[in-house]
Amino acid sequence: MERNFTCTCPAEQTDQMQIYKFSDPAIDITLLEPYLIKYAGTEGSLITVLQKAQDIYGYLPVDLLAYISRRTGIKPAKVMGVVTFYTQFRTKPVGKNLILLCQGTACHVNGSSDIEAAIRDYLKIEEGEISENGLFTYNNVACLGCCSLSPVMMIGDKTYGKLTKDSAVKILKEIAQQEQKEAVE
């Protein structure tokens, strides 16, 4: 099913892509181009395009969403509606390590709110913010499905279970040290 998008925006043409400026200079729109070509004309693939874009850029700034809207012919309000509906999408950048702190039932019963307090205390940030050194952001998530190891958090693709206030902070300290070491080298 073809979607009708007769948009006259110059950015629609690949050769003029480079002139399209985003507020975040780190955004290289050519990286998203293959997916836009693949999905832009297929009805029902907005979520897939947004997932790819977030995979590439780490977040979905508003001007990028406007661009996706133009390229796909889907109204900006609808794009924004989808982005804000699903918890996976974020419109603000995150720290280098995204901590997903499980707040599922099992984790809640086993004290996940204390773990959150300890992490917040240590990083001095609120949910969704970036720590001062740029290394961490934490988000509360509904359930990571590792209930038997509760309380649990996930950083990158690694899951840490049976957390205590101390062990959670220790894990963050170790990651920070590791990052520092790598930065020096």
């Binding site: 029902g44 509606g81 699903y86 809640h108 359930c143 209930c147 899951t159």
Partner: protein, 579 residues
Amino acid sequence: MKITVGKGSCGIAAGAGEIFSLLEQKAPAGCPVVVTGCIGMCYLEPIVNIETDDKNITFVKVNAEAADEILKYINGEENKASQYIIEREDLDNLNSQQRIALQNCGIIDPENIGEYIAREGYKAAEKCIKELTPEQVIDEIKISGLSGRGGAGFSTAFKWNAARSSKGDKKYVICNADEGDPGAFMDRAVIEGDPHAVIEGMLIAAYAIGADEGIVYVRAEYPLAIIRLELALKQAREKNLLGENIFGCDFCFDIRIKAGAGAFVCGEETALIASLEGERGMPRLKPPFPAEKGFWKKPSNINNVETYSNVPWIIRNGGAAFASMGTENSKGTKVFALTGKIAKGGLVEIPMGKTIYDVVYGVGGGIKDGKKFKAVQMGGPSGGCIPAELIDTMIDYKTLVAAGAMMGSGGMVVMDETTCMVDMARFFLDFTVKESCGKCIHCRIGNQRMLEILDRICDGNGREDDIELLSDLALQIKDGSLCALGQTAPNPVLTTLRYFLNEYEDHIKNKKCTAHQCKALLTYFIDNDKCTGCTLCAKKCPNKAISGEVKKAHSIDMEKCIKCGKCADACRFKAVVVD
């Protein structure tokens, strides 16, 4: 000899990845190291199994040290591996279960289709496609009495028949793997541990209803499940178990994966379809049911992961064999995710009709740290709690609903005396408020109001008429909401009001939280007899609320105390008392 390492998400979180690499590096030649999914004994992870010609030994809680001992054992050297061998009791617990949906989980290598086929895999699909008519397949499912394992418990045969009878040139088979219920992980375990069972179940459903396209809607939070499923689909295609002319017959079917984007409401089938179509996942009015007008308005059959994984077994063993297990209105087995304050948490598959006692004190080994059992929450945010006095309640769809809970997808969160039931109700309401799609006013605003009331009760500002107000709102929300999310959202409040009214009254009238969970209702003080005057608590207090001379009993200034609990954590003499 073969070494098998359990590498489900829970095993990996417990360190199975490192153990696997270690064993792989050091295992002697001719001794392959392979992976398997979750066997369900999550409390014993990481689990390593050694299979020789004549025996099978399971080692549990394997750390690096244990792995070394296991290697010594394999090499025939002197070793201390025996201390890591699984206890008899745990093994009995595992063997006492009746496994259908989980029959291959933790046994086969999910990344190797050969192992699934070796255990009669795809035999059921072959039988259906080659020997049975679609009607005969549906009849067999009907005889089995299989009902939807995702929560609603609707008859699977009825759904399949409806989709089959719907006219249309194009039909879809959809697998709901958007396991959003916090505290349930059986679908993740099945996809990670036995992805081909789900594929085969979908294949049979597709044949029965006449579909040629399948979609699995998986939660994005389950990356390993997506990887294993992708691999399984690829292997199935290579063997022409998916694709054109399957089993040489005139039947074509293929499956693709769609990663969800995180919305609990997408577990509702019409919301799931909206999400598949790239929209916001908002439910719509039924009818038309998806069996008539589903994905892209074409007839679609949607079942849950566990439902599909039961199907191959039913075809192989006959519907009657499945129906012989369970109770009058709940047939077969059910997988439960046993978590919370339980000694032996994990996945359990038992025939319907067992009691909650059988699960909690049988397989589950009772309550953690010798505490007292208070209640079990079943059915997640849509369900309710069953209190200790009803522990002999039979597990079956109708009985659970009568008790105020529900089967749901099979999450069983065990609570002990340190769990505050008002706080639990607040926790679930907080969840549904965040997850409400916002379409119905009662759900969007009503639940928000209920949450505010629960917040103020937990904060010590509860009012005399709050209980009445909560009950009234709950009933209105149930009536005024379109989908199951809104209709069931007040359940956690209603069941806690029904069984734990005293806790609500304690919070509101006496300003006390007997479980010591609601911070605003706690008072911290120092036991003069136990305090040694070490000054540690005073140093840790962020608000300088603790004073006292060295080596003399300290005291807490109630005016300044912010009830953070840091003093109690710091005290080595248990002198800080919480009331």
